[in-house]
Amino acid sequence: MNPKGYFSLVLHAHLPFVHHPEYDRFLEEDWFFEALTETYLPLLEVYEGMERDGIHFRITMSLTPPLLSMMTDPMLQQRFVQYLDERLLGIEGELKRTQNDPYFHPVVQYYQQRFTRLREQFVDQYQLDVTRGFRRLMENGYLEIITCGATHGFFPLLATEEETLYAQLSMAVRTHERILGRRPKGIWLAECGYTPGVDRILAEFGIEFFFVDSHGVLDANPSPKYGVHRPVRTPGGPAAFGRDYESSKQVWSAEEGYPGDTIYREFYRDAGFDVDQPHIEAMRHAGIKSFTGLKYHRITGKGDWKEPYHPQWATDRAAEHAGNFLHNRQMQVQHLSSHMDRPPIVVAPYDAELFGHWWFEGPQWINFLFRKMACDQHDVEAITPWEYMNRFGDLETAQPPECSWGAGGYNEVWLNGSNDWIYPYLHTAAERISQLAQRFPDADGDQRWALDQAARELLLAQSSDWAFIMKTATSVEYAVRRTKTHIHRFNRLADMAESGHYDHEYLRAVTERDSLFPDMDYRIFRKSPLV
């Protein structure tokens, strides 16, 4: 195959670390369980199907350190089995409730098959650890798995302390290597948040490439000749790949994009809200009406009236949309290649959770897209950024501007009246742990314990998700509490390390709760890589 251009699908998979052993159940842990149910396991199923059928496909996925930590956490693994079992039990009740309903009974039957298969996948195939599946596909060359800041810290607003960037990157590379067995070649900068100079630090960690929003390349200095269709070499060394606006919009747009099609499953309607029965109540958290994942309606239209969901119709539509998307990419690369001295690359990055969780049929769309790309045409070939760099490595050097992929293109989503109060605390804590890392270069025993846990607390507080949630008003109180809790814990632990007075019970309790990064070393908060 001698394609006219290349297509690079990039899926950014991330959730903040939510882990509450102090509770039997915790509502916000459902974020992870929903993503496993609707995105990560279905994607693995799709990838393995294509591998089995000998389909050429290449996908770049970022599996962030908090997500990898949750995927490998024994408590969350067990709780997810319980989550699946609760749903299977609830489905039994739903089958009885709908037995005389010709519209909704088939949908419930569909969920029974689906959840049964999900349980088989999770328990029998992956033995509770889905990273096994991703790792194998990476080792077989289908997936390029890249990393992200240790807790998804938004670099443009944390870069005032360079030590923070080193810490975020050190722990990211360590975690990636510990769980996936190799060092990452690329990184997804949280929220595509880039600030000049970050490239130099990335190079110190052996990172070869990262991604920016379209304007990160289009506004680079000097202006790149081929825009986002060829990466640029940053002054620090790593390549920056720019998002292709056209292909992004076709999928991202809720109105004009594919996910808004009326045949697809409606996100907001859920048996958790619609059905008041004991078997649904069993899935709720202390009586709070919340999502169960049993969604029986299709989008239908803008009004409140929703028709029953029809899985086969939705599958057929996903195939049509994949064909349409591929056709547009063919047209795009045909046009671009006539103006370029080498094949163009079309980089299409998305949140992984868009596929499956938001757009239920998204994983099927990916399945059809790569099968059609491999079998139905010769214009476009799937590629990873690293493969593209190896084939067409002589890149223009340009300096991208500060940018992000948030609304407005800069820092406004993470810095506004709802969340700007967090930064003085984050910056102060970063200064303090950096000073402690200098002052106590070889801490051991209780002091080492306290400093390592303080470093965990600060990294957790730095997660961009909290500021995002405060802005978008979804689970605000939780985000506020998490930020404050980590700041309090950080201060108490830092006080202990300084004073030499240790509360062992407290140390044990906080280490049990905020347990990610078992290989933590507080000295990551210094201006040098520690991996």
Binding site: A159, G197, Q399, T472, E477, A509
Partner: protein, 292 residues
């Protein structure tokens, strides 16, 4: 209500059960209080009410507390048991762009726009979750929001803002001269202000300070221990250089630019431009001549 101090407004807000009031600025407090007072079934759709409710949007989680460890138990003994709390989750979807809406779906636990009972889970290790720990010293935070918009956030000693008329001022250093561009009064110990500036300014040279005018009309920098951070909005090739300005460096620059706030009469008579006057510290951001 406008005549009340921030402290008084915070007390009112606290009494009205407005969450997060301690972080609100005066204008936000006024809006939030007005919104809550005006709240009635017919005013639910009011923008102010929405905004206030959005700001105070709450909650987390109800859950059965597990048997906690000894230590945790000891510390939580004083804490209240989780109480279900009525909350209306208000999300103005029109405020969000599509990608934001989709991304935020990851964090939705209930359908937006619905009312529900949610519980507040207690901080189980004794954290004083309603208050943040005090910062170790007064601090100025200076961050870029987007081209042309900069956040200044200050944290002063308790009561410091009431002792004297403090001023937050933004200036540019160019050709070794300090030009005052904008000023705003500081009427609370903790607060923030978004400066709208000309994106074409030389970004390496934008400075922020909090201070006051002494009897002689000189501007005295009050926040000597505060660290000013310089943002970068546009392309640069290095990071870490000139991000922090020490007090010594700052004073040196001020000295180089000459005494502030002292405008000779002849200068006024000679019809200097407002830019020149501002440079000398004689103009406030609104263009009014300052006394002294």
């Amino acid at each position: 209500m406008n005549t009340k101090s921030v402290k008084e407004l915070k007390e009112i807000a606290s009494g009205l059960g407005i969450t997060g009031y301690s972080k609100l600025r005066k204008d936000e407090l006024l809006k939030a209080i007005a919104a809550v007072k005006a709240k009635s079934p017919s005013s639910k759709k009011g923008a102010a009410a929405k905004k206030a409710a959005k700001k105070s949007a709450t909650p987390a989680k109800a859950g059965k507390k597990k048997t906690a460890k000894k230590a945790a138990k000891k510390k939580t003994a004083k804490k209240a048991t989780p109480k279900p709390k009525a909350e209306t989750v208000v999300r103005n979807l029109a405020d969000q762009n599509e990608e934001e809406l989709i991304e935020s779906a990851k964090f939705i636990t209930m359908a937006p726009g619905t009312a529900a009972l949610r519980g507040q889970y207690p901080p189980d290790l004794g954290e004083d979750i309603d208050n943040l720990p005090a910062l170790p010293e007064p601090r100025l935070t200076f961050l870029p929001q987007k081209p042309g918009v900069l956040l200044a956030r200050w944290h002063l000693e308790p009561g410091q803002s009431q002792q004297t008329a403090l001023m937050l001022r933004l200036g540019v250093l160019a050709d070794q001269k300090f030009y005052i561009k904008q000023e705003t009064p500081v009427d609370a110990d903790d607060g923030s202000h978004y400066f709208h500036v000309d994106p074409s300014w030389p970004i390496e040279s934008i400075y922020l300070q909090i201070g006051y005018f002494n009897a002689g009309g000189e501007f005295v920098i009050a926040l000597r221990r505060g660290t000013v951070r310089l943002p970068r909005l546009f392309a640069h090739t290095a990071l870490g250089v000139n991000w922090a300005v020490t007090n010594e460096e700052f004073e040196h620059e001020i000295l180089q630019s000459g005494p502030l706030g002292q405008v000779p009469q002849r200068a006024l008579a000679s019809g200097l431009s407002s830019y020149d006057l501002a440079r000398a510290g004689a103009l406030s951001s609104s263009g009014m001549l300052r006394k002294g």
